[in-house]
Amino acid sequence: MYSEKVMDHFSNPRNVGEIADANAVGTVGNAKCGDIMKIYMKIENDIITDVKFKTFGCGAAVATSSMATELVKGKTVDEALQLTNKAVVEALEGLPPAKLHCSVLAEEAIKAAIQDYYDKSGIEKKIECSGDCAHCHAHHE
């Protein structure tokens, strides 16, 4: 039921792990609903020089985390904020309808990490989330 691309990113996820000296960490989702994504970023001079993730969730959750981190790696913060869940889905060559919320979660996880970066570096910006909290069950940290 998953595309080859999803299976590839599920079985060989890119960027798994933690970043010890991350200056941006975002967590969305909750264990009750069966998916949590945690994104670590190293942001230097406004550029995401490194990004890693840890995910508890289904195949689609792992694959969307993997793809989302690939898509923002090396990008500027503003570019990363443009990432949409649709772009993640397209890059994965589609997701089953029941799994689309995983891509929303991935988008929100990136945004949550960047919000953390803003907060930590004293930048007074609030990122608007999609507002679709039923989907992402984000706990805005």
Binding site: F10, K32, C33, G59, A60
Partner: protein, 390 residues
């Protein structure tokens, strides 16, 4: 491929296929066309099949009614009794861990004005007969309790529940779809009024099942039309399927004790092997009062679908009760029903065996699970800081 999903469905036996084949070709007559020799041959096959199924569960031939499967048998039993007895009462008792064929039927009846009590089960998934007894009121027209659970394999004290219902004069249905051919069933001794069967769970064909209706038990028909199945279920009989079902069930109960011994050994080998090699793991269901072919686990900190996919990529076919595999936001109602929190229920895995399962397959499976679980845990934010803390 190592197939460990026999609770979902089983491979048909060659002998079953062989028994069915003539009824697709030479003996294709309509069993209701009793004036033709073609019809008579089909009718004879049906009668024989009915007899075989009946004797496998201690019933009489005329108490077996073939259906399109377990779901239809459950629907028929519950809706049939409810509709027939709605003047006597409107209360039905079942449990929280039934198959959806029972639960969704009860929910449908609730919308029609019936009252349903969903009796909870204990931490092993077992129903306490006392709870059934206490739930019975003057309005109660049906008790439906599954013989054995399809997800966690727990076997219920059916005989005791049957005795209570008989004493109180309440009709007793049991969904024995997972139990039939796996554990001994005697509908008379166990005081069962209605019992559901499904052929594809015991190496028979898909799309055929049966409802045992004890002589004298009254229920409405579900399918109206021709006078097939002694006038209780219309539609031209699925002769080949029925013959296959009877053959498969007869073979399943033949030498059951021996087969059970072998299966229990393999089952316990998996249970012990997994619990010993994979930390932060629990067995779901009862340790001994469980189907000989069922194992069910929850692995903490990981999610079941990714476990399932990983195993599938390596050629192991199993199932999971995680939300992602149940197609809803919640994990399996059975795992929640035994009191597991959502986050643990999401990490479930069921491996179910058949008489075709070998020791080599089991060992290979046990060895595969540990590293996969570890890989997923290493990826899981819930596992951070857990390692080595046990």
């Amino acid at each position: 491929m190592i197939y460990l999903d026999n609770a979902a469905t089983t491979k048909m036996k060659d002998s079953v296929i062989e028994a069915m084949l003539p009824y697709f070709s030479e003996t294709f007559g309509n069993a209701s066309s009793t004036y033709t020799s073609a019809g008579q041959a089909a009718r004879k096959a049906l009668t024989e099949a009915r007899g075989k199924v009946a004797s496998a569960i201690g019933a009489e031939e005329k108490e077996i009614f073939f259906t399109s499967g377990g779901s239809e048998a459950d629907n028929w039993a519950i809706k049939g009794v409810a509709l027939k007895n709605k003047d006597k009462g409107n209360h039905i008792i079942t449990t929280t861990v039934e198959h959806h064929a029972v639960l969704h039927t009860c929910e449908f009846l609730e919308k029609q004005g019936f009252k349903v009590t969903y009796v909870p089960v204990d931490e092993f998934g077992m129903v306490n007969p006392k709870d059934i007894e206490n739930a019975i009121t003057d309005e109660t027209i049906l008790v439906s309790v599954m013989f054995a659970n399809n997800e966690i394999g727990t076997i219920n004290p059916i005989k005791e529940i049957g005795a209570i219902c008989r004493e109180k004069g309440v009709c007793f249905h049991t969904d024995a779809v997972q139990a039939a051919g796996a554990v001994p069933i005697d509908v008379k001794e166990m005081n069962i009024d209605l019992l559901s069967l499904s052929a594809h769970k015991f190496h028979g064909p898909k799309g055929v099942g049966a409802l045992y209706i004890r002589r004298g038990v009254k229920l409405e028909n579900l399918l109206h039309g021709g006078a097939q199945e002694l006038g209780r279920r219309a539609t031209t009989e699925n002769v080949a399927g029925i013959v296959g079902m009877a053959q498969a069930l007869a073979e399943a109960v033949d030498g059951m004790a021996e087969k059970t011994k072998k299966l229990v050994k393999l089952r316990d080998r998996i249970i012990d092997g997994i619990l010993e090699t994979v930390p932060y793991t629990r067995l779901n269901g009862h340790r001994t009062e469980r189907l000989p072919n069922n194992t069910s686990f929850c692995f903490r900190y990981i999610e079941g679908e990714s476990l399932l996919l990983s195993l599938d990529m390596m050629g192991y076919v199993v199932s999971s009760g995680s939300a992602c595999t149940s197609g809803s936001l919640d994990p399996s109602h059975v795992l929640l029903g035994i009191g597991l929190p959502h986050e643990i229920a999401h990490g479930s895995l069921r491996a179910s065996l058949s008489e075709f399962t070998t020791e080599e397959e089991i060992d290979s499976f046990i060895n595969a699970v540990g590293p996969i679980v570890q890989r997923l845990r290493d990826m899981s934010p819930l596992y951070e800081g857990v390692e080595g803390k046990e």
